[in-house]
């Protein structure tokens, strides 16, 4: 459900609930991209990273 | 759960069923099936898988012969009001896909069959067993689909259905009223199929908020009661009975609770 859906209501429940959802999805998305891009850069520059 | 129709005329439709008059004849059940395109199967004896939006329950007083007494209780959907915004009807609160909701204009608890995806949480929530699941694809014997009512869409398998207070009849009445330039519909213009059919005239239907309607007076009768009132579901279906054991038999009482 998106805020532009006809069923959307501007109330606390929707803000908190859907807000959390989008935050989580956003975070996961950012993290994934971060990892992917960093790895890609590592790969491009053949950066050897210290072992874990 | 939305308040956008504030300029609209609103009703609170409800029902009063007189159990002294009800003979348990079952006309309401079949009137409902015929009106609402309820499907049927060759074997409908498993009542736990038999769709009956309106179902007549039988209650006995539990005494042995010859003091046994029986009362019939027609049970449509109670169209619970719940209590306020934070506690709507049990089913509305739980439906994950908003497939069931309280209609702002009529107070009717709706069910959108094409949206329901059959999780059945609403059925678990409803203490009245008013909700039914389509365990099978609905099928009509060849030729019988001719009698289907075009105002009510037949359901598909895997969805939940229930009494709608014949909502399509409300729409029909409303359209008629609007066409005639009236904003309000008359009491007799909108009656449910069961109320209309009941040979005993035991079912009265109308706007619970309208003092002109018969239900308004009846629901305030000292003999009026509702099923499982204590749960706080706040049903819009009231019952009348002059019999104490009937009035008491539809709710739970602790032993120490005095007779009312």
């Amino acid at each position: 459900m998106f805020p532009f859906c006809f069923e959307w209501v501007n109330d606390a429940a929707h803000f908190v609930f859907m807000g959390s959802l989008y935050t989580v999805l956003g975070l996961v998305f950012v993290l994934l991209n971060y990892c992917g891009i960093r790895a890609f850069l590592d790969y491009l520059y053949e950066r050897e990273v210290e072992d874990k | 759960m939305k308040d956008i129709h504030s300029e609209q005329k609103t009703y609170k439709f409800g029902m009063v069923i007189d159990l002294d008059k009800c003979t348990g004849c079952g006309a309401c059940m079949v009137a409902c099936m015929a009106e609402n395109n309820v499907s049927f199967r060759a074997d409908e004896t498993d009542k736990l898988r038999s769709i009956t939006w309106m179902r007549v329950y039988k209650m006995t007083n539990g005494l042995p012969f010859p003091d046994t007494e029986v009362c019939y209780i027609p049970r449509p959907c109670m169209h619970c009001e719940g209590s306020g915004h934070h506690r709507p009807a049990p089913c509305i609160a739980v439906c994950p896909a908003t497939a069931t909701d309280r209609d702002h204009e009529t107070g009717i608890v709706s069910q959108i069959y094409t949206r329901c995806f059959g999780c059945r949480y609403c059925m678990a929530a409803c203490p009245y067993h008013a909700r039914y699941f389509n365990w099978w694809d609905p099928k009509w014997p060849k030729g019988m689909e001719k009698y289907l009512n075009p105002d009510v869409s037949p359901r598909m398998r895997g969805v939940v259905e229930k009494c709608s207070f014949c909502y399509h009849r409300f729409q029909r009445a409303k359209n008629k009223a609007y066409a005639e330039g009236r904003r309000e519909i008359r009491e007799d213009e909108y009656q449910t199929a069961c109320a209309q059919a009941c040979p005993a005239g035991a079912i009265t239907f109308g706007d619970l908020n309208n003092p002109q309607h018969a239900v308004y007076k009846l629901k305030n009768s000292p003999n009026a009661f509702r099923i499982l009132e204590k749960l706080g579901t706040n049903p819009k279906v009231y019952y009348l009975s002059t019999k104490e054991w009937v009035r008491r038999g539809v709710d739970h009482y602790l032993e120490e609770e005095a007779q009312d």
Partner: protein, 767 residues
Amino acid sequence: MKLDRRTFVQFSLGSAAGITLSPLPWKLTDDIAIWTQNWSWVPVPERGEVSSVNSVCNLCPGGCGITVRKVGDRCTKIEGRHGYPVNNGSICILGESGLQLLYGPWRIPSPLRRAGKRGEGIWEKISWEDAITQVVQKLRALRQKGESHKVACISGPNSGTVSQLFARFLKAYGSPNFVQMASGRDTEELAMGLMHGTASPVAYDLEHASFILSFGSGLIEGWGSPVRVIKAHSIWRTRNLKERATVVQIEPRLSRTAAKADNWYPVRPGTEAALALGLAHVIVKESLYEHRFIDNYTFGFEDWTDSSGGNHIGFKRLVLTKYAPEAVSQVTGLPPRKIIDLARKFAKAKRPLATWGRGKGSRQGSLYECMAVHALNALVGNINREGGICPQPEVSTRTWPEVEQDEIARSGFGMPRLDGAGTDRYLHVKYLPERLPQAINEQQAGAVQALLVHEANPYYTMLDSTAVAEAFERIPFVVSFSTYLDETAQHADIILPNHHCLERWEDFHTPIGLQKPILALLRPVVPPQFDTRHAGDVIINIAKRLGGSVAKAFPWKDYETLLKWTMGDKWNTLEKRGFVQEANYKPPAWEEAFKTSSGKFEFYVKALERQGASQPQDIRCLPHYKTVEPEGDHANYPLTLIPAESIRLANGAIGNPPFCTKALPDTVLKGNDLFVEINPKTASNYGLSEGDSIILETPKARAKVLVHLFEGIMPEVIAIPSGLGHTAYDEFLAHKGVNANKLMGVVEDPVSGLSATWGARARIIKV
């Protein structure tokens, strides 16, 4: 480009990612959901212009006005007709299922000829021309052989013109063997004929009664005109507490009626007459009866002396000597105190009314029992009065010209009836349908050469089904005019399917039990859905084809012409309004009410003097109690079986439609197994608990059933739902449960010869 593994993996991953990021999956997800919302196998009802047509329902003798809602050319709903005098907008469970009967797969699509063995269900579709020719040839051959009397016809209990056409046909053709199916009105007509001098069913002014004493009548179970009676029941319940009517139900089982009654007095099955006379005893003894009526307008209340100086005892002496509460208590099992109380309450009520006719009133029953109940009504003087009873009036229609019989017809028609009705033995009755199978089976083969069945399903509804099946075996040619593939049609040789009642014109006379005469009209609401013809047209056609005097007896072109002619000046109103009601009809005052030989209400029925020499004459002529003993001895069959009738379960000629079967509670049917009701006390004697399988056996048959424990049934009594156990129709009805009629034999009423069966002796064996 070389496709090595690496490139392949890259390509796969790349395209997967590409497709995922494209709108395709989203579009597909959406499309699939839309598909689930529009499955082609879920029907979408067609829209169309909405209209409504008024007609009358003839699925039972109730005769409710109906309004059929139509969308385009489809009927979509049957509703009660507003303003109709019988039901005013309401409707019963069977009536509103009518469309399932109209459109159901149990309809017979065209004339059929049997192609396999009898009852095998293998049919050959034939043309109407062929079908009628075959029937005509058969009938003509029989007539030429001088065996016209060997043709019998069974028609439904309906009194309309179509039934009369069949009767007329037989008369013109030359057979006395026209029979109407059994119903409670047979006994009522007889009792009324004897006591009032007017042989018509009893009309009850239920709406105005203030104390209803029901002798087993299933008032809200489909007794009388079902919707009308339920409406009256609501009137009884509506008045304020002071004026609220009291309902007392006398019945061994807590039926719906008993459940809704103010008092339920269970008596031993079959002893209702004794109770009625016991109540009469108290009323007479305490002089609570209506003196003005009894003293002036009745005959045989007091002892009397005939013209030759013989002394006769009257009703008063009979009840005072033989039916004291203690004695009655012995018979009925009801404490004397309750009997006395009930009698006082009944007699002192403002407008007391006693009703007769067990269950739906579709069984004939004992004549003396019926007379005893009406003697009660007479005692309180509620004859032809508000809140009382009167002979059921009819709207008069034009009488058909007398049939001019030719020689064959005269001699055939003059032969004795097979069922014996009208003979010295069964002097007062017109038909003895329940005797017919027995009569056929007793005679040498060939007593009936051809049988026509119209609007009846004797193969299912007659008692002692085994004997009925045997009788059918003995009839070489059976023609069914049924609309549905019922049991009788299934065992016919030729089926000439009738229109459904929503497809045809027909008259409907005053619904059973109504005090205001009504004449109503069934009209075609939809054109015929199948290749069917009006039974009236078909019988006229057959007569015309037979030619000669038979054809001459039917001067009408077709049924519609005949109907118009018969309705005469009422036709226009009928066509326009759908019904004619004489709303101002009032039954005649006591002075002119009785057409008996004495001109009074006869407690002592002189007409019965000539009959039944087995009893002393005085007893014979007075309502009295004599046990109607079902077959079987008490030692072998210690239990009593009674039928349980329900408005949710049609047990007549019309099979229960799927909606009604769906509305049956799960304490009646489980899968295909039938429950019988047993008192927990009795059950514990047999070590039975809920749901156990038992063999239920009567002298007539045995059946496997399930136990349903019910506190509301008298110990030692078993109730079996009536209306199931069909073998024909379709998967929605066939092979569900047991046919109660199969388990019960015919017990002949000693005086009338009608079937007085109220149950059977039975035993149960745990399996």
